[in-house]
Symmetry: D2
Subunit: 338 residues, 4 copies
């Protein structure tokens, strides 16, 4: 890292900084300018080291030069990660579509939606058994009963299943039924949950927190990777901004930014990002055009009666139309809809 | 609008609200609920009326039900606006690409870039003669000399020209040289400037303010339209959010949102939004896929020596490559690159 | 709630909305305007009802008129909540200061800091045994060993203790050692954790999420209150915005806003909000002046060697100085430092 | 500045950077680390130089170490600026209150409000003759007639007057009537306007832009100072964030942050920040407690009939009450209400 001293900092400050750098096992490198002195600290950068240097009186700021994540970085793993989930290939060169209802409500409904999304070309089936709801008075999901429905339907159709886990105590149970763990935006920094799914060997679909800088999102992936689980999928789902015409603001730039610094696949959830059905198709196409490796889309066979998030779910017929456009766009980009 | 009374508001409040509504020439409509009373005020909604009702003690809030803009709305003008600028058609069904350097530096450089962007398929030539710079010590543009260069080059190549105007005092001068006025993000609410360009009959390219909700952006378009100038192009160029990996956050959803409520064409500027050359192509393609009517892209023939914003300008060869992809994508969407 | 129909919506839409309102056990109330029809739905407002109405084709939007939280509201509990935690009174009329190190590092250090903050006038002792760290490679806290140190020191000094709990599996263990549960900003919507602490009868100190609107923060309090735990303290600790000179942006307005709609006490954490020692005192005084019921402040006896968050911790001598100012300010406001 | 090379950058990159640094008249200083090479560039930092270095292939980023503003910095002017405006002293050690209606509506109303705010202890009179309104259909101010009213009333009461100027063409006219120019938030980066008021010798009250980082706000002050006008007052008036319970989010930390790096006085406008009358007093007291040098507060004698922004204006009796509290708080802080 680079330690920038305050203007007017004297030799005592320089000495204190050099001493601390040496203590930390790093090599100091002094540059004295006309207005400022800056001191390079060469070697491993620990979060603690940065702080210990920032602490010294006379230091203006410390600029890290290394990325704080390792296993998630392209420097560590130059090739884009591509992996199989059941019969589905996820990663560079593919466009993978996950679809299904927001919440699992009944086997009948789940089955109806699953059949339609499979026919349209989706390859992975989503459905929530545990729902994080802002209000304690809202429908919270069917729990294990929901997981069973999801498993039954996905087995019948031969589609891998994905479902959200919200509590470290549920990881074992959910693991028995799902093929992919989904970590919701509100749990992106629920570190104990990240560690628990990191200990399993099932892929983790990690949604970006509503106010997470990309670095922190990658640090959350690092929590999972550091436990030995190598299959993490990043999912941009909109961030909180002042803009109030959509539920969240889809940060489309996150796709190329993450793909530049990390080898992990990047998906987009246009349904939650916008909160409005009419915006799902344009955002989905934009995500694929920007280089996204996949999409997660809410589909409901009768959204007027959905138990949650109805206004953003596509009807099966609109989903089919969208999948046709996605297929054409993928071909244009020399990608395969997996 | 709808006036929601505080819980426990008594008949005196109801009377005061009804009296004020009547005074404003509106018709009141009372609904008494178990917990709250709400009163509808039916008729024209003026910003002043909303305030006058919010003022009354016992009123919790006033919910407007009409859009605050008229001329910019689809209700006023159901068909998407399509208009000609010189030989270039802008609007629904077309993808129009504006390209050129950020600042005009010399006729030689301008000409070199213009020839290359025209060859690649751009139809409108951009170049700044007045540059809004954060620092008073940075290069501020060549002024009228720059305008002359722009005119000469654009006439020679038969491309309409666009350039930014920052000061109401410069509108007459700039009008003599340009085909389209550009209003920068920092001037989106410079109302006197909006009125001045509104009085001309040249198209106005209105960039979204860095922290402007879409409603306020459309209200700024309304300022121009209300002066009789019917040709306004909206340009999304990134908003200020906490996300710090890109200079701004491109609000890709703004495209379908504006097109849903307004008839005006919507463009995107991926160069300023991202501030980084490597992100320009993915964002440009995303913008077209999301339904954008056009793009404004910075191109520089030797960006290493650009006087401003070099790191975001594309080199001519990358621009050519991008235009090829845009052409294919436009065809896929049944649109014409104009 | 109020259902606003799209302009041009016909009688079929009106009928569909009226039917759905009736189905939901609510009473419909129609107002036909020149441009729009609006329909009031009088009775209980469930989140599901709002959605079911928004779903109907021809509905533009649904405006809720009731607050989504109940037990947290002043309507439910008009008097400000005041409660005792050990010998310390918290709530309206008091200014309560919680102080201590960010992380518990050793009994010696904890004891040293505790003695100094008690002498300066702090009444509750803080210290973290489980630390939510952005990086999996950073110090994560001493766990149960830390809890034991906190208990020992706080018993010795007769100060109630507060410590963070991050995992529903740890609630029982932490409950044995602490007097107050702290829920960190990143766990504000960890609903299972909220329910677990809601089932205990120890006060909960609920930090605002980094991107939580005040309504969602109160909904999280509602999760705790709905389990029967009546003692919730709200803590504003800064939100994520574009402003980059401080780690977060302290939303000082949150104090009067929450106190207006809720009976719960509101505290402020100026240390985490700013991330910089020099800003702690001005923000702490501002929080008290704005009506805050208390403060949580990081103090460290030798911040240059802190294991975490050193740059924001006050030294004991600065803390003493600050407490003197807080004491004077509290007296000016006719409040007691508890 | 410091140039950080990409990992793996070879000697050609080092040479190119060193050559460019030398070309720019700066002295290069190379530090080779195990993972990265960093090169210091010692000397003056121009915005252009940063870009020219960032342009070089193989450069990851350039970290500036100097502040981009000079005249506004404490390094240039170590003592806090204190200056007289008529008989009123503004700056460190004083709390100055500017009060009056948002818009000037009539001499009678202006006079009534002015008498009451003077009696309560305000020392500077505000009133808008040109109003920046989001809607072209809203009341835009009385123009010169309003300026005359403001001058007449302020002369009669012996209070300096402040009014907003929005257009460079109006600077001469406004200068004839006002004692202080106000630059509104939406014009903070209207650089030509800043230059025009910079050329006068009347103090400038510079509101922070809705999405301006503190550095950009100080750069706007630099525009004014660079024209020779030394009397700039910074005014924090709330920023745009996701938080929706107040019109804007008052960034209270801006007070100590600006005062740390700059010698300019910092005021706060709690009326516009909150947009709600009930929040004005708590925010005003917080601003003074945080070290603010003054306040700008809207007062209206009959807010129910205000032509604009009524809901946020205080009634004279509430203003009097607030001034009493401000007086006590100022004394506690050893400051004088000027």
């Amino acid at each position: 890292m680079i330690v920038i001293l305050k203007s007017g900092a004297d030799d005592n400050v320089v000495e204190a900084v050099v001493a601390r750098i040496t203590e930390l096992g790093l090599a100091p490198h002094i540059s004295r300018g006309r207005f400022r002195t800056i001191i390079g600290a060469i070697g491993e950068e620990h979060p603690e080291s940065i702080q210990l240097l920032e602490e010294i009186t006379g230091v203006e700021r410390v600029v890290p030069i290394m990325k704080p994540y390792k296993l998630a970085s392209r420097e560590f793993h130059p090739d884009s990660s591509v992996f199989k989930i059941g019969n589905v290939t996820v990663g560079e060169g593919f466009v993978t579509v996950i679809a299904g209802p927001c919440a699992i409500e009944s086997e009948e409904l789940m089955s109806e939606v699953a059949v339609s999304v499979k026919a349209a070309g989706a390859s992975i089936l989503r459905g929530g058994a545990y729902k994080p709801r802002t209000s304690p008075y809202a429908f919270q999901g069917l729990g294990e009963e929901g997981l069973k429905i999801l498993r039954t339907v996905s087995d019948r159709l031969g589609m891998p299943a994905i479902t959200e886990v919200m509590d470290p105590r549920d990881v074992d149970l959910v693991e028995r039924y799902t093929d992919i763990f989904q970590i919701g935006a509100r749990n992106m920094q629920n570190y104990n949950l990240l560690m628990e799914v990191g200990k399993t060997r099932k892929p983790v679909f990690l949604k970006r927190g509503l106010s997470a800088p990309i670095k922190e999102w990658l640090m959350s992936a690092e929590y999972i990777l550091s436990q030995g689980n190598q299959q993490v999928i990043m999912c941009e789902r909109g961030i909180r901004t002042f803009s109030d015409e959509t539920r969240f603001t889809l940060d489309i730039s996150a796709i190329p930014v993450v793909k530049e610094v990390s080898h992990l696949p990047v998906f987009v959830d246009p349904s939650h990002a916008s909160g409005r059905r009419a915006l799902v198709a344009p955002l989905a196409l934009a995500a694929v055009a920007a280089g996204g490796d996949g999409l997660m889309i809410e589909v409901h066979s009768c959204p007027d009666k959905a138990k949650c998030d109805g206004p953003q779910a596509l009807l099966p017929e609109s989903f089919l139309e969208l999948m046709t456009s996605i297929g054409k766009l993928a071909r244009l980009l020399n990608k395969q809809v997996s």
